[in-house]
């Protein structure tokens, strides 16, 4: 009897996990922070999110169409980039700002370097830094309850006191998605539990940053200043950065040891930028610089293969 069965090289089974599933899970994990952002900042935030996500998807599809490439918007990576970028923007930015940001993220950082998996830095963060430099005023003016105010981190830097509890909950000014530490930690834990991300990067990032802050407090004769520490942990983009940006697969090390080094490096850079830098914020630049060092980190942390250097048993 003749059959027409298919042949291929082994293995003949595949896990169900797909790129699209993974992107979907990260989007789900961002929902608590997204929903809280909309609740906290109102309809402006929602509009900004929608514009950013849509323009990212349109730019990706448009570029791929234009160059005769396979359109890959179904893998949800452009949606995720759009969402991450939106969460990094102030809620009330003019409509053209997220569009320019999306163009930079999708076209310049991602597609020009070869598309998914080829970008040298996190597209959303790259775009945020681009916007920060190009439109500094618009990107650093935060309106909260119709009043233009400073973020708690800026107040902290100016030596003022801050309310740590509202920083944990997120009822403070800031970018759309960065204010609620609790919502972000919740989403981050979901990603760790579902094994989408490795715990190493966020733990070593946040952990080393906290240690540097404590050492700094002690060195400055402030003693163990818990409020200062918590304000630094909950404030600014640390939680969003540590759980969702630094863990971006493409721009973080793939080797287990590399992930630890990467986390430690980000902790150090964030500490230096926040304490000694000109701006109160330091997470975005820390991660971007970290991104650029990934190939180097990977090169020196290639795992030792099984049985390498084994000696004969006599």
């Amino acid at each position: 009897m003749d059959y027409t069965m298919k042949i291929s090289s082994s293995p003949h089974i595949r896990d169900k996990e797909t790129t699209t599933n993974i992107m979907g899970k990260v989007i789900v994990a961002l929902m608590p922070a997204t929903i809280f952002g909309v609740y906290n900042f109102g309809i402006d935030a929602l509009v900004t999110i929608i514009i950013t996500v849509l323009s990212c998807v349109v730019f990706e599809a448009g570029y791929q169409k234009m160059f005769g490439l396979k359109v890959t918007i179904k893998d949800l990576s452009a949606v995720l980039t759009g969402l991450l970028l939106a969460l990094n923007l102030p809620p009330d930015v003019p409509f053209w700002l997220p569009i320019i940001g999306s163009f930079f993220a999708i076209i310049v950082v991602k597609q020009l370097f070869g598309g998914l998996g080829q970008n040298f830095m996190n597209p959303a963060l790259g775009a945020r830094c681009f916007l920060l430099i190009s439109f500094t005023g618009r990107m650093t003016t935060f309106t909260y309850d119709a009043v233009t105010t400073a973020t708690p981190l800026a107040e902290l830097k100016a030596g003022e006191s801050v309310d740590v509890l509202s920083m944990a909950i997120g009822t403070i000014p800031g970018t759309i998605g960065e204010t609620s530490a609790i919502a972000l930690i919740f989403g981050g834990l979901f990603l760790i539990v579902t094994k989408v991300i490795d715990f190493k990067i966020p733990i070593f990032y946040i952990g080393s940053f906290a240690i540097f802050i404590v050492i700094y407090s002690l060195a400055m004769d402030r003693g163990f200043d818990l409020t200062f520490l918590l304000a630094h942990l909950f404030g600014g983009g640390l939680m969003l950065g540590a759980f969702f940006m630094a863990t971006d697969y493409v721009t973080s090390p793939i080797t287990p040891m590399g992930r630890i080094i990467f986390g430690l490096l980000l902790g150090l850079l964030t500490f230096l930028f926040r304490i000694y830098g000109g701006s109160a914020e330091g997470v975005s630049y820390a991660i971007i610089i970290g991104n650029l060092l990934v190939p180097l980190i990977e090169r020196v942390t290639v795992p030792k293969s099984f049985g390498k250097g084994a000696v004969k048993h006599e």
Binding site: H12, D75, Y249
Partner: protein
Amino acid sequence: MGLLTFSGGIHPYDGKELSKDKAITVYLPKGDAVYPLSQHIGAPANPIVKKGDKVLVGQKIAEAGGFVSANIHSGVSGTVKTIEPRMTVSGNKVNSIVIENDGLFEELDFSKNIKPLDEMYREDVKEAIKEAGIVGMGGAGFPTHVKLSPKNEDAIDTIIVNGAECEPYLTSDYRRMLEVPEKIVTGLQIVVNLFDNAKGIIAIEDNKPDAIKKLRELTKDMENITVNAVKTKYPQGAERQLIYANTGRQINSSMLPADAGCIVHNIDTIVAIYNAIIEGRPLYERIVTVTGDAVKDTANFNVRLGTNAQELIDAVGGFNIEDPGKIISGGPMMGKAMFTLDVPMVKGSSALLCFREDIVSAVEPSNCIRCGRCVEVCPGRVMPNQLATLAEHGDIDGFLKYDGMECCECGCCSFVCPAKRHLTQIIAGTRKQVLANRKK
């Protein structure tokens, strides 16, 4: 201490419930029996029969073509029809002895091969194993008598029987352990006694508690044999990983198990050693699991070597679908996809696995997103993503620098890849190329 294991590995759906409760049944072939002269690692065997010769079950029909080679014995009685190239599972035509089966299964008198064990010298035992044509029956087919003749015999301190059966869907070793545990224990004793300093380990994945219990029961008074429960995880039964799990010793691709003081045998190989030494019967049968979602019923057959694959499918009632998507000789992780069922069962055939649909051709590879899952699961602790990229670029030097030759082609990386890249296939291709260049 936790269960014995290694780092990396995966937990695919194991599909064993489809056939694990099916007792081994003897299947006697109806049609011609076909014996490829190369069904082991090493030189092909040389035929010692010619067209028209009458042969009996157990009769030697081809003789080892060198030290690293193996004899071949007939599993049927009948007449030699022809010696010609025939298709094998590997997709190559191999010169084969074809025997017209008379259906009588007249056996040679095996009793004259039997010698009391205590009257046999070690060399006699090895010679008997060699004469019986025994090779590793887990798939690789390395001649057993060669394995049992390491350079430094005193360094061998551990004989491991591989009862892990970590490949999904396979249940032949499991059934052997349940049904003939005493043969496994005796077979292992025979091998252990070949070495001055050796003790025996039977390593079984902990998803087979009844097999572990049975073998522990049988060996409880034996000081030189232990039964180890190893963690259920693919590829626990890979030779290097199994040695590491049981002894903590590591070997790399350029070393032999003997370099770790170990010799590893498949369950069916150990049973074949028992059959050869105690019953005087050469290797002419093995257990083949017929399973998958595309067959009407499943079975664990005791099959005569040379049996046509189609016969085994017919013996379980055929397919439950007009056109099965994929048929695999062996397990789903390392088995070979078959394009025809007109091939004989050989010494290394462990299963016929039939899928209604082929998953591999349904997925489309996309860009690597560098998630690191392949690095996490790789039991060889190499970087499959990196190796595949280097392989695709034809960068052999880079491939070697990143220890590409340490890949054991277990398939874990391809299995977990969310971008569905065929990592194992790409890496295996380059490994083959490197090995071929070395031979030049």
